[in-house]
Symmetry: C3
Subunit: 214 residues, 3 copies
């Protein structure tokens, strides 16, 4: 059923790895880690989501540690941030935008690979897409000692969920075209950036009376 | 040898997922995460232990991302805590009790599934049971930025170890009955709660003279 | 092609597990965790890297939860640190040295096992070696709530990379001899310790003008 061009899978993986590596590198620069700390965090952020995906769907060893193109993309991403990072004051904003691009590329790359794997149910493919998308950022934030972006205020996992759903539902209907994939990625990116720009947040829990005095 | 009713496995998994999802959601509420942060932490806490178990024994994709009943239990757990969470002042106590229930359900569910998997040695089944039981809570605490419960003072991993041992030893002796499983879960829950109530702690390291002045 | 004595693999694994368990136990002692917290952190540090390796190369269940000798080494390591830990003031230095020994043993043990696994490319074997070496320490530091050593200043991943490269390149050239393995481990240990002693650090990112005033 799936006639997707393997090059679309590779392109999405490469884009995701590279931009998440940039985001990981920038977080490391902000924390004043040294060159190798920057490279390690860039690789963890760039490759972590895909490695998690491959562990979950049984593609061993994961492409994140076997495909030299992905390894190179992560390493180059780390080096670029180390040597050409923008002013530290502007890093946070950059990380947000790069994060949105990575979220988009990996939501699609993850759900696409999962849906094409025999024995993986559609609901699983959607979740794998989301985990691929958020995994690298979560690993980046845990290693850097900060609460993961996905748990902080602002819509984060929802755009990834929409994009993964888009891909998996499309795959149920018929052959996936490249433009379907890029469309899905565009939706993720747009929804995520709108959420950041408009400072859209999901509701927070009601404060209960018992802590109103504290 | 194992004639265990699959419904016991499912029931234990469901109970474990639901109560750990509640515990994850409550930690998120306490940290003032938004709705999606609550759902993410509920799912991570509820499904993390079982996913770890399935990765370790090679059941790919893990049921935690493929069985809609478990996914629903985690999601409902997150929603329940978001909308009906008790006063924040009482949350810590609630998390402790729910944690004990989850610890019990998952120690049994984990060792039960492992011991029924071909190629898994008894000692491995015991450890898998412990890791299933403590995994979700560890992931919850790491994501929420707090030192995992299992490392803080108070007996935590030991009840899970007792319950897993109980299941694995019983499975060596003869067919497992449902009441054996619920008995094992009861032991875990009781030992854990007694430890919490009596504030039983394992011994701490002796202070050495070299830091007695600090 | 690989005629490596299996006992070399086991010896390296045992050494790595034991010294990383000591390092994990010492971190736990420093944080004033109780006996079981010390044991949990010792096991996580000692067994984590090897479990990660086995998940990545598909050796399920991982030896870290199935070989009683490794489990015993980790447990004994935890008990030793609990009862015989040195003055807290001296712990940090001890952790550094033990960490270097573990880094050496695991870089070689990891790359050796990976290079002998069918379907694992040389580049993957090198990376698996590095991840085996740094994995336990990263898990230890995350659980203990501190930023992983590998991201802090000082050459850390590089010695592991050198050792893994040494093993994998040697395996390409011809049969691996035990002295090749111990030589590779010696290189890792020496480079790491020299880095610690001389306080050698990798370069840090240039400060950009935009934060020079803050």
């Amino acid at each position: 059923m799936l006639s997707t061009n393997p090059s679309a899978q590779l392109a999405l993986d490469l884009v995701g790895v590279f931009v998440f590596a940039l985001s990981g590198g920038l977080v490391a620069v902000k924390k004043r880690f040294d060159l190798f700390g920057v490279l390690v965090l860039a690789c963890a952020a760039g490759l972590g989501g895909g490695i998690l995906r491959d562990l979950l769907i049984g593609d061993i060893p994961p492409v994140g540690i076997s495909d030299w193109r992905l390894l190179s993309a992560a390493t180059v991403g780390g080096l670029v941030t180390f040597f050409f990072h923008p002013g530290v004051a502007r890093i946070s904003r950059f990380v947000r935008v790069l994060d949105a691009v990575g979220l988009a590329a990996f939501a699609v790359a993850g759900s696409l690979k999962a849906v094409a794997t025999p024995g993986v149910a559609p609901v699983t493919a959607v979740i794998v897409g989301v985990l691929t998308a958020i995994g690298g950022g979560v690993i980046r934030d845990l290693l850097a000692g900060q609460v993961p972006e996905v748990l902080r205020r602002e819509l984060y996992a929802i755009p990834a969920l929409l994009g993964s759903l888009f891909v998996v539902v499309s795959a149920q209907i018929g052959p996936l075209h490249d433009w379907t994939l890029w469309g899905a990625a565009g939706v993720v990116f747009a929804v995520r950036l709108i959420a950041v720009r408009l400072d859209l947040n999901a509701p927070t829990p009601l404060r209960s009376s018992s802590n109103s005095l504290t």
